[in-house]
Amino acid sequence: MISVEELDQIAETVRTERAQGRHQINVCVAAGCLALHSDTLKGALAERAQSSGISCQVRGVGCMGLCSAGPLVSVEPGAILFQKVKPEDADRVLDSLKAPPAKQHTDLRQTPFFKRQFNVVLENSGKIDPENIDEYIAEGGYRALFHALIEMTPAEVVQEVASSGLRGRGGGGYPTGLKWGTVAKAHGTIKYVICNADEGDPGAFMDRSVLESDPHRVLEGMTIAAYAVGASKGYIYVRAEYPLAVKRLERAIREARRLGFLGSKICGTTFEFDIEIRIGAGAFVCGEETALIASIEGMRGTPQPRPPYPAQSGLWEKPTLINNVETFANVPPIVRRSGAWYSAMGTPKSKGTKVFALTGQVKNTGLIEVPMGVTLREIVFDIGGGMPEGRKFKAVQTGGPSGGCIPEQCLDTRVDYESLKEVGSIMGSGGMIVIDDTSCMVNVARYFMEFCMSESCGKCIPCRAGTAQMYDILQRITRGQAGERDLELLIDLCDMVSATSLCGLGQTAPNPVISTLRYFKQEYLEHIHAKRCVAGECRMAATQAARS
């Protein structure tokens, strides 16, 4: 069993190594840069460094955020960031170790993309080797677990999390402390903790990035949660489309077990907890908690009516705590620093920070973390760098297929659960897609409806048959084959499907239609009456086009 002193020792060893004056060359090996062959690049850098006798350490690290400029390489000390590095650029990177960096390597860290962010969840991303537990420990990792297990009662941990004001980062925004308290108070000796890593929104990759870049943070958060609610077994439900995240999690779990952060007698106490990975089979609906639980139980992943809520009767009918990856990732810093520290960030009702996957028609795409309360304008135009040349901003889509499109006039909306809801969207899990004037809003709605239609589990009628009818109507509108009555039917269906569907998937499936109708109704009407698509994206039926 590892002690706090040994923990300090590991941290000290890592720090001493770093302080030996050797440069560190950090190559991003998260999925985005890896897809651009950053592993080959890492090999080339190590080889060139060795053959030219330069003393430095070439490491793989997690996501640095600016995915559009990948593969990314950072050099420490000096905090120089190189973008779009190819294996043949190895010498150029190594040259920067000798002399002050040449002008072409402007330090990207000083750009608004990085300066406007504030990292809590991503504090270690891009800085540590995700496959080495020692590096996590060197950054203060697993201290929170020791602190919780040795110095706090489970009730105090729940209290600390409650006082932080943390709310569910999967999108629902349910107060995390309240959920933990409910599971802690639920009757029963067997309880479970589940981490929902079935991230499925189009354009969202926050959870994947956290798991690939800093997996121990999630394990630590889950273990603290298990202690707080009295669980001895945990599951991470991760989608099969994330093989790298699974690989790093498996490794992290092995290392955590080796050092006694998982298993029996954790941190030398009597507390027992272990984590298993469960891999999803590709169904979006399995991100819905009751469907996810059914899937872990080995059954068809379909949602069940709630109540009973998982907190009372979840996995194998036992009280179950289920939180999203990002929620668990927020826990170690909250326990380590205090709930008050966390709640000092953000707005009155939404505390802390939020990670977003910024994608679409914006200059800087990638992974960002901002304090709650920043405006959408700051995200899109400062951090995102605005539109590509010659394009005009049209809308920003948040919350994936359950969310909505926010137009220009609402860009000063603050990022918090309530404000986003007011303008017809939701916080969601963190997907943020910027849409410019070359995209047709009816087509955007059609795209999301197609997604919901094919991801509906088919259990309840409104979602199964309603999304199919809505998709057909949207299809007819984009083809110039729809009439006024179709629009009325569409609006009726939006109301009916959201009011009567069994689970969140169906209840929120009409949202992209409702929000585009709210702000871009003109586009719908032009498609219907003038058979014209202002963005030029929809191809109207030949006969109709000829008439107009």
Binding site: V285, E455, C457, G458, P462, A465, D472, T500
Partner: protein, 239 residues
């Protein structure tokens, strides 16, 4: 039942009723002769809350509650039939009719179909949504029964009766969304199923003409779901 069960009093459609704490709104309503339309529910089987026809309004919240799976609570004020609910119910039925190939006039269950009866009782005069006309197979490989996917509404009564009552678990559901369909064994032809006992329970509980007895065609299209109450009673009184 030796343990005393708590009793709740509530109001359904303006009528004061009492119910055991473990009863659902649907049970309490039906005991008091208040009709709530249902399709996936069948007395004697577990409830799944899938058809959404039994949704009711509860005072104090805008949310709708599926009465088949919602337990009664003290002081609840429930309305089972409002303009809004009736509109949703008609739309739900319309969506069902338009989803697959429901043509009453050529159906074995014409006149003995729960979907058809609901359409009539809910005042459905026409289907506004375009029919989707999916191409669906018919499995007539079983020596006694036929499965016609064109008439299936995915209520999963067959799945439940086979698993819960017969204990064979021949039926299950595969596929997602509009592509979902009921299957026998691992999507093998029904006639080759090794788990099917040919008991016919699935056929008797099927609300439409999706499952039918070949010998009944043209002679006796009536279904007999009432066997279930009797069987459960004989087996030890579960209701």
């Amino acid at each position: 039942m030796t343990q005393a069960m708590e009793v709740k009093t509530l109001r359904i459609d303006g009528v004061d009723v009492s119910a055991r704490a473990d009863q659902t709104i649907l049970e309490a309503a039906r005991e008091n002769n208040i009709a709530i339309p249902t399709l996936c529910h069948l007395d004697g089987l577990s409830d799944v809350g899938a058809c959404r026809l039994c949704l009711v309004e509860v005072a104090g919240t805008n949310r709708l509650f599926p009465s088949c799976v919602t337990r009664v609570e003290e002081g609840m004020q429930i309305t089972t039939s409002t303009d809004r609910l009736q509109k949703y119910r008609r739309m739900t039925l319309e969506l069902l009719f338009a989803e697959r190939n429901h043509v009453c006039s050529v159906c074995v269950s014409n006149g003995a179909c729960e979907l058809q009866a609901l359409g009539q009782s809910q005042g459905l005069t026409h289907i506004e949504f375009p029919y989707r006309f999916p191409q669906l197979p018919v499995d007539a490989s079983h020596e006694r029964f036929t499965l016609d996917h064109n008439r299936c509404i995915l209520c999963t009564r067959c799945v439940r009766v086979c698993g819960e009552i017969e204990g064979a678990h021949t039926w299950d559901v595969m596929g997602r969304g509009e592509k979902a369909r009921v299957i026998t064994d691992l999507d093998q032809p029904w006639g080759t199923s090794e788990s099917c006992t040919s008991c016919g329970k699935c056929v008797e509980v099927c609300p439409t003409g999706a499952l039918f007895d070949k010998s009944d065609v043209g002679t006796r299209a009536r279904k007999h779901p009432e066997f279930l109450t009797y069987l459960n009673e004989m087996r030890g009184g579960q209701s």
